[in-house]
Symmetry: C2
Subunit: 247 residues, 2 copies
DNA sequence: GGCAAACACGAGTAGTCGCTCGCGTTTCTC
DNA sequence: GAGAAACGCGAGCGACTACTCGTGTTTGCC
């Protein structure tokens, strides 16, 4: 027990059970003293079902306002069944967050990998932003869990780590373009670009169809105009005026 | 009773009591059948005290996670005393929101009034944004109540109205500059500028001292670069490159 | 087939929250 | 000074929450 948390009885059990629920890589170091049986396929299906239900409920009500009973009801099972697979409410959010986070890391990893090749800024924004926007539109629960202010500590931690990782990535790209700029200012620019993206994403996710497309374009325009003066006046980058009129 | 809400018993009483708590303009149409006595100075002081406490607690915990008992404790009174002045928890947030909203309207009214004179864009941004930023820094509860996702219906309503009003204002300014641009696109630009401001404000409010100053500058830079291509290439507006290096 | 463990249920438990109520104190009005 | 109303208290109520437990069913393994 690395940390000494006094009174929370659930937390310890939560971690191992949630890890087990993940079912993935950490498979088994089968303790011979207790040769436990394997989770059945039915159980995995229930977990997926509960996680889908939780994503729905979290999206419509937020984390704190979502009751475990409501999640169970949405999944069509009893509260007892829910607690067969998750030790507590937080573990549900953590497991859901972890799974989404894994897929998110793949998404943005691929997006940023492309940007290494020296594309003009507008093409680079397309290459980077489009997959990230698509992911968030397909997984609205990700946005809720990552940017909600009412989220349990464990997810907040994971989000902070992720945020720092992505920020570092953006900072190093910026530092490539701007070797003379002091680090704190690069940090601020990266942070601001990030916040602007999130703000625009909010607008994108709140709209649909053609309007959504228009907001995506508008978000790219903001990012383009913000970053264009920073990445130099290469001929590879069109002048900002090209983006003024009808997109 | 203009609306017919069926089962919420508290709502009706809430409105009149909260209005009375406001104590302000709607003073009295003294029903002769029930010549009620006036609120004492002590009571007004308690209300202010409770509202200050509520602002504190809402800021640190958010609305839903703040218990009325916690607010009463923070104010140093008993729960019963709290309910002497507010019919329910929502009414506390509504009253607090209303008072902040009044002051906010003054603030942004004054800010936008100045902008009517045709300043260069960077000066106009200073004139408009500085007071708005200052207000939010001095009243963090305003940000929490207006942009929180877990807020009761009555405040959300008020916020939506405010949002629409400010948006219209921004749209009309933009329409002055861009008479040829279709209305839906002007709407999107205004909405995006608004969201960018909110995002930057988040960053500003999370920092302090010199860092805050730097983020304020960075926020203005984003807004400037976003809007500059839109307001024409007047000599009154400096080229965007002027803002690249050390601010 | 039989046994043990995973799965499933849902009424029930402890705790918290918004809010009330009875009663005592202070202040205003006459 | 007397009556009324505003003010103040805090134990406690009902509703709701996260979570449990005893019991019964399904499944995998020998």
């Amino acid at each position: 027990m690395p940390e000494a948390k006094a009174n929370k009885t659930a937390t310890e059990a939560a971690v191992e059970a949630a890890t087990e629920a993940a079912g993935g890589a950490a498979d088994e170091a089968p303790d011979p003293t207790r040769p436990r049986r394997r989770r059945q396929a039915r159980g995995e299906a229930r977990i997926a079902q509960l996680l889908r239900a939780a994503a729905d409920v979290f999206c419509t009500s937020g984390y704190t306002a979502s009751s475990t009973n409501a999640i169970a009801r949405e999944a069509g099972v009893s509260p007892g069944t829910l607690y067969q697979f998750f030790p507590n409410k937080e573990a549900i959010a953590v497991e859901l967050g972890d799974r989404l986070l894994d897929r998110w890391r793949d998404t943005y990893g691929a997006a940023f990998a492309q940007s290494h090749t020296e594309l003009p800024l507008d093409r680079m924004l397309d290459a980077v932003l489009d997959p990230l926007i698509a992911f968030n539109c397909e997984n609205p629960a990700f946005f809720v869990l990552m940017h909600g202010s009412e989220i349990p500590g464990q997810i907040t931690e994971a989000h902070d780590t992720l945020h720092a990782t992505m920020l570092t990535r953006v900072e190093s790209v910026l530092a490539d373009y701007l070797p003379d700029m002091p680090a704190p200012q690069i940090h601020r620019i990266a942070e601001m670009a990030f916040m602007v993206f999130k703000a625009g994403l909010d607008l994108v996710m709140a709209s649909e169809g053609e309007e959504r497309t228009a907001y995506i374009q508008e978000l790219k325009t903001v990012m383009f105009r913000y970053l264009h003066p920073l990445v130099g006046d290469d001929a590879s980058c069109p002048a900002p005026t090209e983006r003024i009129d009808t997109p």
